[in-house]
């Protein structure tokens, strides 16, 4: 694990952090630090232990074993004090369908002990920030998925938190809604809010995170900035080859026949395509063609965290 260079006390500090439900281990002795002001990500497939870790940080799920401090405080003893300074965007929207958009924010402000007037002032400001001012008096139910997500984010900001926890903030949203959300999160980060998020989207992790850990089966398998992880575990470029399969063929071995040997650092066969890891994708494509390979489609792209994950676990991230 890399040490935080600022020398300051980290906002979140976890050592051998463990969560068990009966005999099932959801989080298995993970270590990580999150520094003030950074955007930190937990990347991994469903069931990797991301949500359980977030819920422990949010002090709503008791730690089974290991050490965890948030703002230097112990979640078991100072849960309410920690939550006062925390904003949480849970995986499920958990909005109150019996209340209007504005009322959802007001009552949440009251839970944080704000006066009605102060809650109102902040709610108006936040509705503007997430572009929901016109829907202020509406019920929550008819809002689109993206709007609901934005409302949940506004709700999480009502107490002006210094740390925002986001559990899969854009899962299930269309691309436009995702980009609007990313933009808002980016602005928050610029204002100095520390972001801690989980995602199983590569582009999201690359867009938002300064630093991240890759989780798989309750453990952390790698840690670093998106760039560092890509440099460390994969090549600069990836050549993707797709072959037209004959009847009964279940993989592409018949087409490859060892013809990629020596062309690439690593070759990965996926159910629907072949990934060729190489510094120069164009050159590898040309070489493959020279050797007689005739793929149905060829794509050269920059490698991503998806490739890192594949490399680390042997499985693709979104099954």
């Amino acid at each position: 694990m890399t040490e935080i260079s600022t020398g300051q006390e980290p906002l979140i500090r976890a050592r051998r952090l463990t969560k068990r439900f009966g005999s099932f281990t959801a989080v298995d002795g993970v270590d990580f630090d999150v520094a003030a002001g950074e955007a930190f990500g937990f990347l991994g497939p469903n069931g990797a232990g991301k949500t359980s870790t977030m819920r422990m940080i949010g002090t709503v799920s008791p730690v089974t074993a290991g050490d965890l401090t948030v703002f230097g405080l112990d979640p078991a003893r100072d849960g309410a004090r920690i939550r006062t300074r925390l904003g949480v965007v849970p995986q499920a929207d958990t909005l109150d369908n019996e209340l209007s958009v504005l009322e959802n924010l007001l009552i949440y402000g009251r839970y944080f002990d704000l006066s009605w007037a102060e809650a109102r002032r902040r709610a108006d400001e936040l509705l503007d920030f997430v572009q929901l001012t016109e829907r202020s008096g509406d019920k929550v139910e008819p809002l689109s998925g993206g709007m609901k997500r934005r409302l949940v984010i506004a709700r999480a900001l009502i107490n002006e938190p210094s740390l925002l926890l986001l559990d899969e903030p854009t899962t299930g949203l269309d691309p436009q809604a995702r980009h609007l959300l990313w933009d808002r999160l980016y602005r928050l980060k610029q204002r100095g809010v520390t972001l801690c998020l989980t995602t199983h989207y590569m582009d999201e992790a690359e867009q938002l995170c300064d630093r991240l850990v890759v989780m798989d089966r309750a453990r952390i398998v790698a840690e670093g900035s998106p760039r560092q992880l890509i440099d460390r575990y994969v090549t600069r470029e990836v050549l993707e080859l797709r072959f037209r399969r004959a009847e009964g063929e279940t993989d592409d071995s018949a087409h490859l026949n060892g013809q990629l040997e020596g062309l690439a650092e690593r070759v990965e066969q996926l159910p629907d395509r072949v990934l060729v890891y190489t510094a120069d994708g164009e050159a590898a494509a040309a070489a493959a063609y020279e050797r007689g390979l005739r793929p149905a489609s060829v794509l050269v792209r920059r490698s991503s965290l998806e490739d890192v994950f594949l490399r680390l676990t042997g499985r693709s991230l979104v099954d």
């Binding site: 309410a80 939550r83 499920a92 958990t94 007001l106 009552i107 839970y111 944080f112």
Partner: protein, 270 residues
């Protein structure tokens, strides 16, 4: 269990400022629909009292078999007041609470704020008490308008109804927190609440029940609530009996609260 119960008696521990926030939430929801509450809160008692008290009472009074020759309307009015509060509280501590735990998960949203599971439990119990108070006051108004109370002590039937409501709400909330869907509620109402409504001395003295069923009535909180409210309304107060009834109601409410405290934690803090 007693240790938990005793600790709960500390008023500061029960009604913390945080639990008041939960009550505020429920009042905010209530603000949207208060007119329909008011309408049904007045029409229901009127319909019940006129049809059963006046209509059915015509035949009952002819035989005048009630203790002390009390008019049937006067006999059932305080009982129905308590019953209505009990019914509303039972409903409110089942489906809406399940919604907050499981369907809308708004409890989980609240737990991300400084509020804790205990605040949610106590705050929603306060709301149920508030609603029972409101319904009982409306019921009382109809009783007075129909001249169905012999004694001004009938106003004390309101707090008795609220206490009875809590004696149902607390244990039912404890039960709700153990459920994952609402199928258990159907059984609870069919085999629990409805029979109680019919056989707790509401419509006829429990002495008319078969002998083996009478002890069953004694252990149900509704019987005690009905007995107290009726004695107040008829002006036939017997201090020792009244104290026993009140203590019985308190005991059930406190036991329910202690149980709910455990099941809420178990359900919400995982």
């Amino acid at each position: 269990m007693t240790a938990i119960g005793l600790r709960l008696v500390r008023p500061g521990a029960i009604a913390s400022r945080r639990s008041l926030r939960v009550l505020e939430h429920d009042l905010l929801v209530f603000r949207r629909g208060w007119h329909s509450y008011l309408l049904s809160g007045l029409s229901q008692p009127f319909l019940y009292l006129v049809s059963m008290g006046v209509g059915l009472g015509l035949y009952v009074n002819r035989n005048s078999n009630l203790p002390g020759g009390v008019p049937y309307l006067d006999y059932i009015a305080p009982a129905l007041l308590v019953t209505q509060a009990m019914m509303a509280a039972s409903f409110e501590s089942a489906w809406p609470i399940m919604g907050k735990i499981e369907w809308d998960k708004t409890y989980h949203a609240a737990l991300n704020t400084p509020l804790g599971a205990m605040d949610l439990l106590v705050g929603d119990l306060m709301w149920i008490a508030f609603r029972a108070t409101l319904l009982s006051v409306l019921f009382l108004a109809v009783i007075v308008a129909l001249g169905a109370a012999a004694s001004p002590m009938v106003v004390l039937a309101v707090p008795v109804a609220v206490l009875t409501a809590l004696a149902f709400a607390a244990p039912i909330m404890a039960f709700t927190a153990t459920q994952t869907g609402d199928s258990g509620f159907n059984a609870l109402f069919r085999f629990g609440i409805t029979p109680l409504f019919l056989f707790s001395g509401t419509f006829f003295p429990i002495e008319r029940l078969p002998l083996f069923l009478q002890p069953l009535a004694w252990v149900t909180p509704l019987y005690h609530g009905v007995a107290v409210a009726r004695s107040l309304s008829l002006g036939q107060v017997e201090p020792v009996g009244l104290t026993v009834h009140i203590l019985a109601l308190l005991a059930v409410a406190m036991a329910g609260l202690a149980a709910a405290r455990v099941t809420f934690r178990r359900r919400l803090v995982v």
